[in-house]
């Protein structure tokens, strides 16, 4: 099929999984404190104000997924079942909705 690198497929399957894992376990690469405009690897004291974790989760998911996608040999990436590309995100979306229903109870 396409001449494009199949690593894109691996990246996309992994990204959502790693992102949700980072969110669930709070494994962000960093936190951003908008009041003090600081990026920090560790949680800062309450005087720094609320933290934004989303940037750190995205960065962690991007870095880890890219590293694995580049490490997986092209042959293996080519042979990956293409259904994973929609089964995994669909499962993640449903799982997210189920988990986040805690806000509505």
């Amino acid at each position: 099929m396409s001449r494009a690198n199949p690593s894109f497929k691996v990246f996309s399957v992994l990204f959502g999984i790693v992102y949700i894992a980072c969110f669930y376990y709070d494994w962000g690469l960093f936190k951003y404190y908008p009041i003090t405009r600081e990026f920090s690897y560790v949680r800062l004291p309450p005087s720094s104000g609320p933290a934004i974790l989303w940037y750190g989760w995205l960065a962690a998911a991007a870095v880890l997924s890219a590293a694995v996608a580049l490490a997986v040999p092209r042959k293996i990436a080519d042979r990956m079942w293409d259904g994973l590309l929609w089964v995994v995100p669909t499962a993640l979306l449903i799982g997210t909705l189920i988990y986040e229903k805690r806000w509505f109870l």
């Binding site: 099929m1 396409s2 001449r3 494009a4 690198n5 199949p6 894109f8 497929k9 990246f11 996309s12 399957v13 990204f15 959502g16 992102y19 949700i20 969110f23 951003y32 908008p34 009041i35 104000g49 609320p50 934004i52 989303w54 940037y55 989760w57 995205l58 998911a61 997924s65 293409d82 259904g83 590309l85 929609w86 995100p89 669909t90 993640l92 979306l93 997210t96 909705l97 986040e100 229903k101 805690r102 806000w103 509505f104």
Partner: protein, 156 residues
């Protein structure tokens, strides 16, 4: 002031993205009209679907960046107010929105990969499902974004 401008631009970019992804998603579901007579739905879906791939990726990323730029204002000024008002569901809607945006961003490389020319017929299904998932995410985030943006008026 700058945040208000960014919020409006974010919304406008989302409108463009919504239109593009809806055209493509319906094109993937389109059946040829019987008897040559085309309905509005047929005409709406009768687009060159591959031509929408790069604009969808461009506007998805741009809209997400816009959302990321206005996020600090939400975290500092809006979220604490919602918490004070015990509006947990509003914060929940935002949480889901940010997760869906992230999952969508992660899907874009594969979406681009499967839409590369020449389009392989054996990957029609995965192209269709990826497009529909992106369309679902964009619609969800568009609607919830508007609900959040207008929440004070909606729940007044």
């Amino acid at each position: 002031m700058i945040v208000t401008v960014l919020l409006i631009v974010h919304g406008l970019l989302a409108v463009v993205l919504l239109g593009a992804v809806t055209h493509q998603a319906l094109a993937m579901a389109n059946r040829p009209a019987a008897g040559g007579k085309k309905s509005f739905f047929n005409r709406f879906a009768s687009v060159n679907a591959p031509a929408y791939v790069n604009p969808i990726i461009f506007f998805f990323v741009l809209t997400a960046i816009g959302g990321g730029l206005i996020y600090p204002q939400y975290r500092v000024d809006v979220r604490p107010v919602l918490e004070d008002l015990q509006m947990r569901s509003a914060n929940g809607i935002f949480e889901i929105k940010e997760h869906f945006a992230a999952i969508g961003l992660g899907l874009l490389p594969a979406y681009w990969f499967y839409w590369q020319a020449p389009l392989a017929p054996e990957f029609t299904a995965v192209r269709r499902y990826l497009t529909w998932i992106l369309a679902f995410l964009v619609w969800w985030n568009f609607l919830t974004g508007h609900v959040l943006n207008n929440i004070r008026g909606l729940l007044a």
